[in-house]
Point group: C2
Chain length 201, copies 2
């Protein structure tokens, strides 16, 4: 067995860092050393930021977003268009859409996709609250911005069925060639969708 | 400008995570989300581990290693061979050698290499203390385990000169073909060194 040169505190820090996505055991060790070297500028602030996040973060009861209060900043924003609810799988998808700054509606984070093989049923996702929200009189459209995967699309079909009773339009994102994408590198499914949905110039 | 969906606490956490080596802005965002999702198992423990490291970590006055006490665990270990001091550039190099478990001596961490162009002179490194340690009667060998780079090697030459007054053997690591290395992928300098230092089977 390899000997350990660092104290147990640092070994524990390395093990925890190695559990972050994108860091392995070797890069976690490098990150730990970097933190120790930049004690004032990085280690201290990061420790405080993590403690603050741990102590303040909550899931929004209304939409499933994460924030330091519930309802979240987006749900409370009076400038948001309350007639449109955009349904996403994860908070990361919400962040991606907000970065694109293309929607001014509200969001609803499901917390995953239906996956019977993994034992994820409708009651494990934040679906009941979505149906409740869709029934509100001001809501006119539910945009299903789910991943274009088998799980995402079967979840979208399930939701479409369950929202059919509400007086809302249920829409989905367009499929097609990504901006900057080269046809040569695209799969047949995407190309077929792009041809089928072709537009007049 | 892209809109921000997360509160300022999380934005700050993402910015700090992005400053770790190996993480960029996108992977820092993914790491932050992962932390928030695994609040109990990962975010909390990591916050505590960082705070503990921040509060307890010190640099060993004797050898420059980092630990929670000075003198460090290695310097205090009575099982260590006090006649050999292995000089390394950074604490990461010390960790690498300890993982290899190939040395039972003490270490000395310089904290970098001489680099006149970047304004790093002998007084900026932990050299004075090394010369002091090399003068102790029990020390018989100083092994310069510096990187095989121009800076590492010129620092090694400088140290060899400055240690000539002490009654010690100054040695360096062997150059050659790395274990598992393929000749085809090695540079000419390494191959030349390996041929020059060839051994009888």
């Amino acid at each position: 067995m390899a000997r350990v040169a660092a104290g147990p505190e640092i070994e524990r820090l390395i093990q925890l860092l190695a559990r972050l996505p994108g860091l392995g055991p070797r890069s976690a060790r490098r990150a730990a050393l970097h933190l120790v070297k930049k004690k004032e500028q990085l280690l201290g602030p990061l420790a405080s930021a993590l403690a603050e996040t741990r102590d303040t973060i909550v899931t929004c009861d209304n939409c499933g977003n994460i924030d330091t209060m519930s309802a979240c900043t987006l749900c409370r924003d009076p400038a948001r268009d309350r007639s449109l609810i955009c349904v996403v799988e994860e908070v990361g998808d919400l962040w991606a859409l907000e970065r694109a700054a293309v929607l001014n509606g509200l969001y609803h984070v499901l917390g995953g996709t239906l996956s019977p093989l993994d034992g994820v049923g409708p009651e494990d996702l934040f679906i009941a609250r979505l149906v409740e929200r869709a029934g509100a009189p001001e809501v006119t459209e539910i945009l299903l911005a789910l991943n274009a995967t088998v799980e995402g699309q079967s979840t979208a079909h399930y939701l479409t069925d369950h929202l059919s009773g509400c007086n809302v339009v249920v829409s989905r994102l367009a499929h097609g060639v990504p901006i900057g994408g080269e046809l040569d590198y695209l799969d047949e499914g995407t190309l077929a969708a792009a041809v089928k949905a072709r537009k007049v110039m």
